[in-house]
């Protein structure tokens, strides 16, 4: 990609294909392109720059997942989609903080995106549970589980890095860890 196109706002299809191809650059350009818009929305509706960051990143994740799942249709502009999600998320946040006065200053058109935001919210709950379950799991279980199930490292590699004498010991250890993780995960309300 040329330096010129880096600085300008990327086209929507560039971004979508970039996400599908796991392009680091595409996400970066997307992020830089629309952050000021979200900043404007949040700051002018009782928010702080940190709120803007949280909301914007959440919206990017919604978009990312939607594209990855393959059900993002380019019938609306990316900009509008991001704005709508941020708007929805911010309204939700405001009403949780009891700061919503029933009025929001809009700077863009927006779409109904309740479903996406709802879905994201549910997944976020699962992830929070998973995070705390992993936290409670402790070492070395946490690293074993992360290495095997998240980073796709083989049992052989794990066995070596943890200094297990044979792969069966490592497997048994991993099995126990997984059982404990499940228990911790499902125990949570």
């Amino acid at each position: 990609m040329s330096t010129e196109s880096k600085s300008s706002i990327p086209t929507d299809s560039e971004i979508v294909f970039g996400i599908l191809n796991n392009s680091e650059n595409a996400i970066k350009r997307l992020y830089v392109a629309y952050f000021p818009m979200v900043m404007q929305l949040i700051l002018n509706n009782n928010g702080t720059p940190d709120d803007a960051k949280d909301i914007y990143q959440e919206a990017i994740i919604v978009l990312y997942n939607k594209v990855k799942k393959g059900d993002f249709e380019l019938n609306s502009k990316l900009k509008t989609f991001i704005y709508s999600v941020c708007r929805r998320l911010w309204l939700k946040r405001l009403s949780q903080m009891n700061r919503y006065g029933g009025d929001i200053h809009d700077f863009n058109d927006y779409l109904p995106v309740e479903d996406e935001v709802e879905e994201q919210g549910e997944r976020d709950i699962q992830f929070t549970k998973m995070q705390s379950a992993l936290q409670l799991l402790g070492e070395p279980c946490k690293t074993i589980i992360e290495d095997f199930y998240i980073h796709n490292r083989s049992m052989q590699e794990i066995c070596e890095s943890f200094g297990y004498t044979n792969a069966d010991n490592a497997k048994t250890q991993k099995y126990k860890c997984l059982q404990r993780l499940k228990k911790l995960f499902f125990q949570q309300k």
């Binding site: 996400i27 992020y31 952050f35 000021p36 900043m39 700051l43 002018n44 995070q131 589980i145 998240i150």
Partner: protein, 361 residues
């Protein structure tokens, strides 16, 4: 099959590590044993979630890294709508400002109320001695109680006091209406302490004049009145004096005529700088030649040394208006001034017998 082995089998099955035979055998097991089938699905979902969680963490890390490179502050500056500082001040502090403003308004109103600014009449006290009455009432009550205990008959104390002066030698006395207003009975007392019963024969509340007639049989003709009554208005800076009863013995006071109109431009009154006190009300105001030019009647409480006297013209009107049936003969005012050439001491000595304390019960 032990649980650990089952999990391992499920993992191998899901990751596609099984060969065709193993695979068929495992699928057979899934079909026949519903429990193992459920375990497969459960495991698949859980590890899927774990995987997604990992991806999410990774994505967030990347986004945070990108965020680090952005100059958040500059963007914030750029997109913030900057209202004028006064609007900003209002937005940030409007509740505080509102509270402060209401307290301020309340304080101002309360101050105005308690200082009497809202009620103009309060600054204009009529000079009858009613003012001191409340202070005395408690001691009087004590005295009364003691007297009753001892079985003594008590003379009721007077309600208020003022000053009056003779306008004819046969016992017509001029005073202020507010001195005798609401009186049950009126007594006048001369400088030597003799009291005579009197009654009001004419009241003019508008100009605050009252004409009393002495009805006591012990009253003797006063003799030639030494002063005359001035018909025209007096000039500013005229040297004036008064003589009256703010206390039991008569008090002399002098000053200047400072304005041809009274409080708030009231043309009934002169403004004078004569030191007067409650009890002076109704007293005569004389000029240096010994002409009655007014009746002392009020003072401005907010300003020191500002007092008012009714112009003599209104007194003359009142005399003219006395209903004839309350008079035995038409009052004839003195026209020969016996004071003009005298010193002030002699003037005061001369008028002394013609000025009375007016006691109201």
């Amino acid at each position: 099959m032990r649980d650990e082995q089952l999990i391992e089998a499920i993992e191998r099955y899901l990751s596609g590590e099984m060969n065709a035979d193993e695979r068929n055998a495992f699928e057979q097991l899934r079909r026949e044993n519903a429990e193992s089938d459920t375990r497969v699905i459960e495991h698949q979902q859980f590890t899927g979630l774990l995987k997604q969680y990992g991806e999410r963490v990774e994505l967030e890390r990347r986004l945070n890294a990108i965020h680090q490179e952005i100059d958040v502050h500059a963007i914030a500056e750029e997109v913030t709508v900057h209202p004028s500082w006064i609007v900003q001040l209002w937005r940030d502090h409007h509740s505080k400002i509102s509270v402060a403003a209401s307290i301020a308004i309340f304080a101002v109103l309360a101050t105005l109320f308690f200082t009497g600014y809202l009620n103009n009449n309060n600054s204009y006290t009529e000079l009858s001695r009613e003012v001191g009455r409340l202070n005395r009432s408690t001691t009087d009550m004590k005295k009364d109680i003691n007297a009753i205990k001892k079985g003594r008959v008590i003379a009721a104390p007077d309600k208020s006091r003022g000053t009056g002066f003779a306008i004819t030698s046969n016992g017509l006395i001029a005073t202020s209406f507010h001195v005798v207003n609401g009186a049950d009975s009126i007594y006048i007392q001369d400088v030597s302490g003799r009291s005579f019963k009197a009654k009001a024969i004419y009241n003019d509340p508008q100009s605050d004049v009252s004409i009393l007639k002495v009805i006591d049989t012990t009253f003797r003709n006063l003799g030639q009145i030494p002063y005359t009554f001035k018909h025209s208005e007096s000039d500013l800076a005229e040297n004036v004096f008064t003589f009256g009863f703010p206390q039991d013995s008569p008090v002399y006071g002098d000053g200047r005529l400072t304005s041809a109109s009274g409080l708030n431009g009231d043309t009934l009154d002169y403004e004078i700088s004569v030191p007067i006190n409650p009890g002076n009300s109704g007293g005569p105001l004389l000029d240096s030649k010994g002409n009655i030019i007014g009746i002392v009647r009020a003072k401005e409480t907010r300003l020191e040394g500002v007092h008012f006297a009714l112009k003599s013209g209104y007194l003359l009107n009142a005399i003219k208006n006395i209903p004839e049936d309350s008079l035995t003969k038409v009052p004839v005012l003195n026209t020969e001034n016996a004071l003009a050439k005298l010193t002030r001491q002699q003037q005061v000595k001369k008028i002394k017998p013609y000025v009375f304390m007016v006691k109201v019960y």
